[in-house]
Amino acid sequence: MKIKKQQNTQAYQVGSLIGPTTLLVTVMFLIPLLNFLRNSFNVFVPGQFMQTAWTLENYHKFLTDPYYLSILGRSFYIAFSATLLALVMGFPIAYFLARTKSKWKSIIIMLIVFPLLVGNIIRDVGWISLFSGTGLINRFLLDIGVVQEPIQLLQTPMAVIIAITNVVLPYMILTLHSVLERIDPALEEAAYDLGASRWTVMKSIIIPLGIPGIMAGTLFVFVLSINAYTTPLVIGGSKVQMMAPALYSQISEVSNWPLGAAMAVILIVFTLLSSTIYLRIIERMSMNVRAAGTEVKG
């Protein structure tokens, strides 16, 4: 009974972290979503807007064409990598922030949040000036003679992953921070006092108790990443296509509304599906931790 309640508390904790975003996304998506859903069963007739119908042709086309499937696969791969990267980079920063007593703390948090105040497009232009053939990195590599001619950095998955990570990192840090901050430092000291090394403290105390934050942060950031639009468009271009820009170009350039709509539906279903599977896996992995909850006494 108690365990059950605890799980609810934890679910609530996770919920309260991703809840507001989810709600916003839901409302903003719900109306277009229904519209899209309907359109996705229509037939595309070049030259015309579209023809009302009930057909699975668009889905069939997407799911059997390796070209389209590779866009979905790449979207997943890039979102997954960006999420992982953001977690690996964000965790130490969030942990440091959660523990520091430095008077600079609020300034550091402002620095972390600051990029969010700068539009994606501006930041992406920044990345271009870094990654392009005549960009800083290539000029540096040419100068020190590591390469003879500029290497391709723009329009590579790597560049897109880095740029997306840069966009989502603040969300990851803030989400992790809010959970790590609530872990009583005395728990770490108690473990340390009993002979644990710094690493063991991290592994057996901080990470298990930080799992709700890790779950919320990664999920949040994954959803943001797989839906990324500006960054793959500007940095990835035609070589590194992701779902959001690809489906939009179906609509805006080819005027193929039905296929664009089907792609949107597929993207949403895919996101929900992978999130659910992910949550199940984490749940399985951390049965203990979930049962124990993350309540911190003191």
Binding site: A186, Y192, A196, T200, E295
Partner: protein
């Protein structure tokens, strides 16, 4: 042979001096309390001994080894935290087993030692529960078991009972004391509760502003506090400023109080315990310190009655009398009464 030695230990936080030249030696098997008001440096000292803080100057020796620069996880000490700091995601068993796991003790040995430690604190049936599924008192016991199971050379307790209600606090107090004596484990107990310190300790170290004001057995500290601060802390409530003229003390308002001081002294302050003052005794001629005072306030406190009385000089003091006696000897607010005390009840104090 001293088990723990603090040698000229100094700790600063920024510009402020938290611990000023602390010297202390604790014998093997002894339980020493650090007693003092909030902010006097009890926790700071304990954390230096545990290895969480490094002193700026001075040395800390445990079992004749200089551990000053050895980190907490390499020291043979175990700390019991004020809020217990039990790991919420581990069962009671896992909590207690944690220290043994860190010491790479085998599975079977861990099991038997954890069960032994849990039975020591009467919690052998609770191994499978999580910390939030047991009461505060039980959590306290788990914290104790978790510290003791690793057989530390030194047990450190930072106000371990302050989160418990009064009754439980008394129970745990004697439980800790019994356990400590049975195991013969050298212990330091931090508290700001004088009663706790008096009941529990072999010796009490009274701290104020990072300095030791007095060290002694509980009875010594209670019966002969040496300064106003210590006296105040062990419950002395009446103080007079003045000076000694041979064995009598003349207060600044001219009250003459006889003491048992043998030789000339230049103490400028004395203290008198409220419960050492007798009200309207039948044989008041027997007391050389007898004063007529006016009752200002009567407060009922269960077994005792507390009186606030006023000297003609305007000085006021607090007197305690047993409720039983008050019933037979009624007077009310505004009445004149006699109060008396013996010369040896007067505590000469340095300020």
């Amino acid at each position: 042979m001293a088990e723990v030695v603090l040698n000229h230990v100094i700790k600063r936080f920024g510009n402020s001096l938290a611990i000023n030249d602390l010297n202390l030696s604790i014998d093997k098997g002894e339980l020493v309390s650090f007693l003092g008001p909030s902010g006097c440096g009890k926790t700071t000292t304990l954390r230096m001994i545990a290895g969480f803080l490094e002193p700026d100057e001075g040395d800390i020796l445990i079992h004749e080894e200089n551990v000053t620069r050895i980190p907490a996880n390499k020291r043979d000490t175990a700390l019991v935290f004020q809020n217990y700091a039990l790991f919420p995601h581990m069962t009671i068993f896992e909590n207690v087993a944690f220290g043994l796991k860190m010491r790479k003790v085998s599975k079977e040995e861990t099991r038997s030692r954890v069960l032994e430690a849990l039975s020591m604190v009467q919690l052998e049936k609770f191994g499978d529960r999580y910390p939030r599924q047991i009461s505060g008192g039980q959590q306290q016991r788990v914290a104790l078991a978790r510290a003791l199971v690793v057989n530390p050379r030194l047990l450190l307790l930072d106000e371990p009972l302050s989160n418990l209600d009064a009754k439980l606090r008394q129970e745990m107090r004697s439980e800790i004391r019994q356990l400590q004596q049975r195991l013969g484990i050298t212990s330091i107990f931090v508290t700001h509760d004088q009663e706790e310190a008096l009941v529990l300790s072999d010796r009490i170290v009274v701290l104020e502003q990072g300095e030791i004001r007095q060290i002694g057995r509980p009875q010594e500290v209670y019966d002969s506090p040496q300064s106003h601060f210590v006296a105040d802390f062990v419950g002395v409530r009446n103080f007079f400023n003045g000076h000694f003229e041979s064995h009598a003390f003349i207060t600044n308002n001219g009250i003459k109080i006889f003491t048992d001081m043998k030789q000339k002294s230049d103490f400028k302050k004395i203290g008198i315990r409220s419960n050492m003052i007798v009200v309207n005794p039948n044989n008041k001629e027997m007391y050389i310190n007898t004063f007529k005072v006016k009752v200002e306030l009567i407060t009922y406190k269960g077994t005792i009655i507390e009186l606030l009385v006023l000297f003609p000089t305007g000085d006021s003091i607090v007197v305690e009398m047993p409720s039983e006696q008050f019933k037979q000897n009624t007077f009310s607010k505004g009445d004149q009464i006699d109060i008396c005390w013996r010369p040896d009840s007067v505590l000469p104090l340095s300020s």
